[in-house]
């Protein structure tokens, strides 16, 4: 999700005194509804100042309301570092809270309160440093006034202001600072003076996570809470026709059986009781039009749409004319659907009361959660309070809020009581919004050892058409063209198109979205062209990167660190891939060994240039984690459909990589830019093509379908 949806980025800075004597500061987007300061004051008097990012409190606490949701990507620490850098406090001194839903917390790169698209640091880069700097300037001004010295002579570190041998902690001047005018412009530190950004720092949530001391949505507890287990319609998109709950209602602990649109829920004193009681339900489904759907029909729908001209994602020269002059090399690539399979199954706790609706949920999209909860409860969005919890894995699954709507619909039937809905793993695998299947038609012409013409037509269903229809214009889904529209290679005749074709399955954003689909086809096909031209695949790519110094640098670095050889010793081979995504340049070399019957993945070597690495160790962690996510779809993972039902159900048949099959993953970081790029999804897309290219180099077999295991490779 790289596209910038239109948004006014003009910001208002608000400042007001906290009831406890302190400084409350936040940016507000011009488009957001202003809250009266009194309301902000009232809430700031409690634990949270919801229309602000930073509260420096008279009691000594520094609170940061983190606008993005933590799902493993280190957003709590990375964003706190941006704030701390300019505030003059140590990140450890800052208490980080997850934001409620408020226009102040809209992601400027996505136009809604969303965590996704590897945007969190990019969006916050200026905003949070400015928030920190503004607070620091005001705190210093207050201290300087008290001491009657020039503010410029004061220094700040670790939340303490110093002048000569005098010192004052922030807390001592917070109340006075709040009375000062907000400076219109604050200078930000030049990069050479960074003392927090780019430095090693343990994750603020790391130690607690290892010790099981953090709470996720699934861990929420409320007094006299009921638990709900769900029997969803087994057919995609099917509906409940009728049911008999008599037997289920007699089971131990069962309090109520509730019908919702797409399933039946049992409410009980404990979740296991609810889950066991599902077996007692007699249900008839209206299976709907999907009942005859299967994977072959999905593939056929994509094939049929291949005849359409498609919409242009990127073009140069006149590829069609080149293809008319000389016979192109052609290939077709396909990718199967994937489930997200977050380790924390989907869950949501909801209470529908006279005073509004409370929702406790692990979500990447609090604003969407609020809206669906309001709809399900029949209240206004302002009457819904979203209590965002830590997320036990997102990967795009928690941009969807289906389970929030379900939980609220169920809770509405027992008004005043909190209800925790927990999906089983089977529910989760079978009722996901899957990574879309795709078909890619590739053509290319080589001349003088270089690519002269190159085209792709990518056919795939659109996620955005369902979720953010405004972002689909003239047949172009801004997220579907990712990985194509951002192609870095200099090719004289280029024609990259997409065809949107629905296939009857709900599809969703899956970490790195279309970057992964397009990179598999494009980077594999570039490799085919390199071999057709008789060129080394790294040199062949470098020849197209004269005007892309950062891209050249990562590719050269990855090749060097990996010990790249065109012709390594027998029984070993390398494959490479490279791209730009999320404003970050990345290259990967995969090293494999073995032979046609059995391929061992020996090593993955990345070089990545995110411009600036805010939290370097976690940049590496995200690249490693992204690579393992990439391995899911590259090696064996797929979701298939039969009779409208998803055939997989749990980790035995939707296998995600286990420790033994994950090779060493080396990550070399280059900082070649003047601001940070995205990193959360960058590790994913190149894994499949780099491995496919290595397998070709090893065995001579070109695999053009994901997962690669379907192409006849057995991975050791």
């Amino acid at each position: 999700m790289n596209a910038q949806i239109d948004l006014s980025r003009r910001r208002f800075l608000k400042v007001s005194a906290l009831a406890g004597g302190g400084l409350l500061l936040g940016f507000r987007l011009a488009r957001g509804a202003e809250r009266p300061p009194a309301q902000a004051l009232a809430q700031a008097n409690g634990d949270l100042a919801p229309n602000a990012w930073l509260a420096v409190r008279g009691d000594g606490g520094i609170r940061f309301v983190c606008p993005r949701n933590e799902m493993g990507q280190d957003v709590l620490t990375s964003l706190a570092m941006l704030l701390a850098e300019e505030l003059g406090a140590a990140p450890r001194q800052i208490e980080v809270l997850q934001a409620e839903v408020d226009p102040a917390y809209v992601n400027g790169l996505l136009g809604a309160q969303i965590t996704g698209g590897s945007t969190s640091v990019r969006d916050a880069w200026d905003k949070l440093r400015q928030a920190g700097a503004t607070a620091r300037v005001m705190l210093v001004a207050a201290a300087a006034a008290q001491w009657q010295v020039p503010a410029a002579e004061c220094t700040v570190a670790d939340g303490v202001i110093r002048h000569g041998n005098k010192q004052l902690p922030f807390a001592a001047v917070a109340a006075a600072a709040a009375k000062l005018p907000v400076p219109a412009e604050v200078p930000l530190k030049p990069r050479a003076q960074f003392g927090v950004i780019g430095r090693p720092l343990p994750r603020l949530d790391g130690a607690a996570k290892s010790r099981g001391r953090v709470l996720y949505g699934i861990d929420v507890a409320a007094p006299d809470m009921l638990y709900a287990a769900l029997l969803p319609c087994p057919v995609l998109g099917g509906r409940l026709a009728r049911f008999d709950a008599a037997a289920a209602e007699k089971r131990p602990g069962v309090r109520k059986v509730v019908a919702i649109d797409d399933g039946v829920a049992v409410l009980a004193d404990h979740w296991w009781q609810a889950r066991q009681a599902l077996a007692g339900l007699e249900v008839e489904w209206d299976e709907g039009p999907a009942a005859t759907l299967d994977s072959a029909a999905i593939q056929a729908a994509l094939e049929a749409a291949a005849e359409q001209p498609g919409a242009v994602a990127k073009q140069a020269g006149n590829a069609a004319a080149e293809f008319a002059k000389a016979k192109p090399i052609e290939a077709r690539y396909t990718a199967q659907m994937l489930a997200h399979a977050t380790l924390e199954p989907q869950n949501c706790t909801a209470r529908v009361g006279g005073d509004g609706v409370d929702v406790w949920v692990s979500t990447q999209f609090p604003q969407g959660a609020r809206d669906i909860a309001a709809k399900a409860a029949g209240v206004k969005p302002e009457q819904v309070r979203i209590h965002a919890q830590l997320i036990g894995g997102g990967f795009g699954r928690r941009l969807e809020v289906d389970f929030v709507g379900q939980a609220v619909a169920i809770a509405r039937e027992v008004a005043g009581k909190s209800v925790k809905l927990i999906w089983t793993r089977e529910d989760d695998v079978r009722h996901d919004f899957y990574r879309p299947p795709s078909l890619h038609l590739m053509r290319g012409i080589i001349a003088d050892g270089r690519v002269r013409a190159f085209s792709q037509k990518m056919i795939s269903p659109s996620i955005t058409a369902r979720m953010f229809p405004d972002a689909v214009k003239d047949g172009i889904d801004a997220f579907m063209v990712e990985g194509a529209a951002n192609l870095v290679y200099d090719i004289p005749h280029l024609d990259l198109r997409t065809v949107i074709q629905e296939v009857g399955v709900r599809v969703g954003y899956w970490r790195s979205v279309s970057n992964a689909l397009n990179a598999f086809a494009i980077e594999s096909f570039v490799d085919e062209l390199a071999h057709a031209a008789g060129r080394d695949p790294v040199a062949f790519r470098l020849a197209m990167l004269d005007r892309q110094p950062r891209q050249r640098a990562v590719l050269e670095r990855a090749a060097k660190e990996a010990g790249w050889k065109t012709k390594p010793a027998r029984g070993r081979a390398f494959g490479c891939a490279s791209m730009e995504c999320y404003d970050t340049h990345v290259a990967l070399v995969a090293q494999v060994a073995g032979g046609a019957g059995r391929v061992k993945l020996e090593r993955l070597t990345f070089a990545v240039d995110p411009g600036i690495a805010v939290h370097p160790d976690q940049v590496i962690a995200q690249m490693q984690g992204g690579a393992v996510t990439g391995l899911i779809g590259a090696l064996r993972g797929k979701i298939t459909i039969k009779g409208g039902r998803v055939e997989q159900s749990n980790f035995h048949d939707f296998a995600i990589p286990r420790i033994a099959e994950v090779p060493p993953i080396d990550v070399h970081v280059i900082e070649g830019g003047d601001k940070p790029g995205g990193i959360g999804e960058v590790g994913v897309p190149l894994v499949a093509p780099a491995i496919a290219n290595a397998v070709f180099a090893l065995t001579g077999t070109r695999i053009r379908a994901l997962p690669l295991a379907d192409g006849g490779v057995a991975f050791a």
């Binding site: 010790r211 099981g212 979740w271 976690q618 490693q624 992204g626 749990n650 995600i656 420790i659």
Partner: protein, 154 residues
Amino acid sequence: MTTLKLNGRSVDTDAAPDTPLLWVLRDHLGMVGTKFGCGAALCGACTVHLDGEPVRSCVTPLSAAAGRAVTTIEGVDGKVAAAVLSAWDAIQVPQCGYCQPGQVMSATALLARNPRPSDAEIDAAMQGNLCRCGTYPRIRAAIHAAARRLEGGT
């Protein structure tokens, strides 16, 4: 009523004897450090120790745990657990963190019986613990680091 020896204390629960230990811990006793991931012994998120051995609590009925020493992430301690946790901190293993209590419990059980595991032995012992975030390279490094710590090295 079933009595459990949980983290060194005696705890009573009225959960039905066939209730999986995971749900007794989480729902009945409010100890939520042990996680639900699959319910079918496929992911290891629910790993606890039963008399020191790692077991998947999602498929362990309460009746099977009665009278035996149950240790969860909330109660695991001693030299080996301390070495594992400090290695986990030093290597910065967790991402989302959801699998991590289970990983720590499995790693602690491994090092308790095999203080210097090879890569192959780590694979064998940790193969049942999924990490969807992909922290495996760091899990491996942290187990080696914990082993060195236990040997009195660095």
